[in-house]
């Protein structure tokens, strides 16, 4: 096989199929990546079932497109997982290692579909390894019995399409269908059941999801939420008519329970296991559905939308928002001119229409914004594997706990937070958590805990990374700062521990005793902070010696819009992101001094260099400050501040951020442009780069 490396490959798919295949493969691989790590030593039946199902789905889709190597490798993985699922093989670390090796190969194999070139992966060897593990004499363990009734989570808005029917008196039924265990093709039966339900009513939600069933992913149990005018007997009779349906159980759900506060009705207690074909079935399948239910949020009623199309919609809404603002301006102008009584009715009409338009536009903008939101899960799900790998390398024992996976944020932010988060976690494992011996000596459990929690507050998302490690060594930091000549010994000693902890964001500082290949990559916390501030976010750190460290990242929910202070300078309108503005004042209110020939602003016992905004950005046009006074905007980046001279303050505004385009690329000091109320463009200022540059200039003076 190795000799085939580089040979062209052919697959049986067109561009659309390719996209679908890649999306699905990525999803399943991600799922495997996340859950395989948890498998080790913790054979939770729901988890095993989830993993098995992901491998099964991958096998199916790779076989469909004719990717033989991928299909046969996933088949081998599935075989091993099946043994684990049935309790014939315990998921010991050698099993997990073999599966992870297979998973890594799957990534490469999936990518062959894009490159169309043989990557030379030796699937036979990996398959042999998997089989060897299977035949190995690892102990068999009995999986814990699943006892609780499965919980089905109704996706938000699932019932939206059916309310009219419900209002007209149709019933909402929870339907649970069991397919006979001797059925050869349960997936087809599930599909038939789904079809049958759709012929007698509307299926508001389905477990497994509709698209899983349609893709042939149905198994021996399925459940759904059906809205129909038929009685429960009629429904049961219709569904039992489908071949191989062993049992149908259903129960009417009161609409009130189905609406519930947002999450809809949660609990759907199962009937006693009377209809379960055999104990083994029940053990495997019930938890599987629990898991489906938990994942139900992204279920049935969703449609994949091209990001470009969403961006297009976003652009159009941005236009609408601007038109709305212009209309409001026109209205104000009109009402000041047209004081004539005969026109008052007309004016009222006009006002009513504009304010309605304003409401609708706001709503539309909000909705489209929401449709761009993704749960942060896609980032958090990569972390367990990362933590495992790093922990193994460093000889640490670490448990990772994640929470708030459902927290949603704009996809543009999701793409940007992954790297900083990974870096912080690496640090936490490498520097934060102590070695097992050290921990034992300190009277702590050998296994350290790192938690990553996400939550929303107002228009921000917060991500907190906490570890129960040794905390930040402030005395080491003090030494380091002095050694590197960044500070005098006296200044370092005089700083409080809280201040010292913040020094980890100083450029070029690493407290690791030795450079490891884990964290010592030359990327420091200063880069992390810079990247986060570029996203108009903030990062804070706190630490208790011996107890642990906490890093909190605060980011705006979306990068598509940002709150900004609008100013004008030399005839151009600029937007300064509000998150970095500390103060804005008129020159006559400002305490301005000249220090070393430079204008300097004294603000709250600090001296800030004063910089002309237009000049700092490279505006070389003749510059004339307004004769009736100018304004000063103090802005910060980390602990550095500078004061920018502008002509006028134009107020705060939510601005829609637009790129300057490929041709202009990234300009110094600018992050993009935004459309103003009059249809012209304003420029969005990148405070981080300006403050860094100016502070560097200012220090020697």
């Amino acid at each position: 096989m190795a000799s085939t490396k580089g040979t062209p490959l052919q697959f049986d798919l067109d561009d659309e199929d390719l996209k679908l295949f890649l999306e699905e493969a990525e999803e399943q691989i991600e799922l495997l990546d996340q859950s395989l790590v948890q498998l080790e030593g913790e054979p939770d039946p729901a988890l095993v079932q989830r993993i098995f199902r992901a491998a099964h789905t991958l096998k199916g889709s790779s076989a469909t497109i004719g990717h033989k190597k991928m299909a046969s490798l996933t088949h081998a993985m599935e075989t091993v997982l099946d043994a684990v699922r049935q309790g014939r093989r315990a998921p010991t670390s050698d099993v997990v290692d073999a599966l992870l090796a297979g998973l890594d190969a799957l990534r490469v194999l999936a990518n062959e579909v894009v490159t169309r070139v043989d990557s030379g992966i030796e699937t036979e060897r990996l398959e042999a390894d998997l089989m060897a593990v299977l035949e190995g004499d690892g102990p068999a363990v009995a999986l814990p019995e699943a006892h609780d009734a499965p919980v089905y989570q109704v996706p938000a808005g699932a019932l939206e399409c059916c309310w009219e029917d419900v209002e007209q008196g149709q019933g909402i039924y929870f339907v649970d269908v069991t397919i006979a265990s001797d059925c050869q093709l349960p997936s087809i039966r599930c599909y038939q059941v789904l079809q049958e339900m759709e012929s007698i009513g509307k299926v508001a939600a389905c477990w497994p999801e509709r698209d899983v069933i349609e893709a042939g992913g149905g198994e021996y149990r399925m459940a759904s939420l059906l809205v129909t005018r038929q009685t429960d007997e009629q429904v049961a009779a219709a569904l039992k008519a489908v071949s191989d349906v062993a049992a149908v159980r259903l129960r009417q759900v009161p609409p009130a329970e189905a609406t519930g506060p947002i999450e809809g009705f949660r609990d759907e207690p199962q009937q006693p296991a009377a209809a379960r074909p055999e104990a083994g079935e029940a053990r495997e399948d019930a938890p599987a559905e629990t898991q489906r239910g938990a994942n139900g949020r992204k279920a049935s009623q969703s449609v994949r939308i091209d990001v470009e199309r969403l961006d297009g919609l976003m652009n159009l809404v941005g236009e609408l928002v601007i038109d709305r603002t212009r209309l409001q301006q026109v209205r104000e102008q009109l009402s000041s001119v047209l004081r004539d009584a005969s026109l008052s009715e007309l004016m009222d009409n006009f006002e009513e229409t504009t304010s309605h338009l304003a409401r609708v536009t706001d709503e539309l903008q909000e909705q489209i914004m929401r449709s761009r939101m993704l749960p942060v899960r896609s980032v958090l799900s990569r972390l367990p594997r990362l933590v495992r790998d790093v922990a193994v390398k460093c000889g640490k024992k670490v448990d990772l706990v994640t929470a708030g996976e459902e927290t949603e944020l704009d996809r543009s932010v999701i793409e940007e937070i992954s790297d900083p988060l990974v870096h912080i976690l690496r640090n936490a494992v490498d520097h934060g958590i102590e070695s097992p011996e050290e921990r034992r000596a300190a009277g702590k459990p050998e296994t350290g805990t790192i938690s990553v929690t996400a939550w929303n507050q107002e228009t921000y998302i917060y991500l907190a990374v906490r570890d129960d490690g040794r905390g930040i060594d402030t005395s080491a930091l003090r030494r380091k700062v002095v050694e590197k000549g960044l500070m005098t010994r006296e200044a370092a000693e005089a700083s409080t521990d809280d201040q010292v902890v913040q020094w980890i964001f100083m450029p070029g500082l690493s407290t690791a005793k030795q450079i490891t290949d884990v964290s010592g990559r030359g990327v420091g916390m200063d880069i992390v902070r810079t990247n986060i501030e570029r996203l108009n976010g903030q990062i804070t750190v706190s630490s208790v010696p011996g107890k642990g460290t906490e890093v909190i990242i605060q980011l705006p929910l979306t990068l598509a819009t940002t709150k900004a202070l609008m100013v004008s300078a030399n005839g151009t309108v600029y937007a300064i992101p509000l998150v970095s503005v500390t103060e804005a004042l008129a020159d006559h209110e400002a305490d301005i001094h000249t220090v070393g020939g430079r204008k300097t602003l004294r603000l709250r016992h600090r001296l800030l260099p004063m910089i002309d905004l237009a000049a700092a950005l490279g505006d070389t046009r003749p510059r004339m400050l307004p004769t009736d006074g100018y304004f000063v905007v103090a802005a910060r980046h980390g602990d550095r501040q500078a004061a920018f001279i502008v002509d006028r303050l134009l107020g705060e505004q939510d601005v829609v951020v637009k790129s300057l385009g490929d041709m202009l690329g990234t300009r110094k000091g600018l992050t993009g442009a935004t459309i103003l109320g009059d249809g012209t463009l304003g420029l969005i200022v990148d405070i981080a780069s300006l403050v860094t540059e100016q502070a560097a200039v200012a220090v020697p003076a």
Binding site: K658, D662, M663, G665, K668, G679
Partner: protein
């Protein structure tokens, strides 16, 4: 982007004919491949970008899109002149996205038979050669065929080197 790249960027002169938009710059006629031209708009407000090259007039709002605008006179080394009611922005799609080109006037759309087009070096030799891919000798005038990718900086990186050189 894929759509833009799909626009045929003819390197060899086709034997048949060229479908072009003719515009004027300092009393000379130039032609742009009609496939690359997205639209032609009247002069509108342009926001200048501090620190950008002198021939980058700035950015403008084209129905919600931010489009960079190049002053072709400045780019081609022709002395600047006041904008007139005839001044137009020709919006083209290039490998770096949409770009507006300020021209003195847009005169017409026409087909130029391939056999009337000659390589530029045969007529003139100068730095602007890089911007042209041929010259058509029509009955009443000469029309220079503009090489769009030659006129525009190819990417942000190239743009950087342009500005350093300037």
């Amino acid at each position: 982007m894929a759509r833009f790249e799909a626009a045929p960027e003819s390197t060899a002169l086709p034997a048949s004919e060229e479908h072009v938009v003719i515009f004027k710059l300092a009393d000379e006629y130039y032609a742009l491949d009609i496939q690359a031209v997205q639209e032609i708009v009247r002069m509108q407000t342009i926001t200048s970008i501090p620190g950008a090259d002198f021939w980058v007039e700035g950015i403008t709002n084209l129905r919600g899109r931010v489009v960079p605008v190049i002053d072709l006179r400045k780019r081609c080394g022709v002395p600047a002149s006041e904008y007139t009611p005839e001044t137009r922005i020709v919006v083209v799609s290039s490998s770096t996205g949409m770009v507006g080109l300020i021209v003195d006037a847009v005169s017409e759309v026409m087909r130029i038979p391939g056999d009337q087009v000659e390589p530029p070096s045969a007529i003139v030799a100068g730095p602007e050669n890089g911007y042209l891919r041929g010259v058509a000798k029509l009955e009443d005038r000469l029309v220079s065929l503009v090489d769009l990718e030659g006129v525009l900086p190819a990417s942000a990186d190239d743009y950087g080197s342009f500005s350093r050189a300037a």
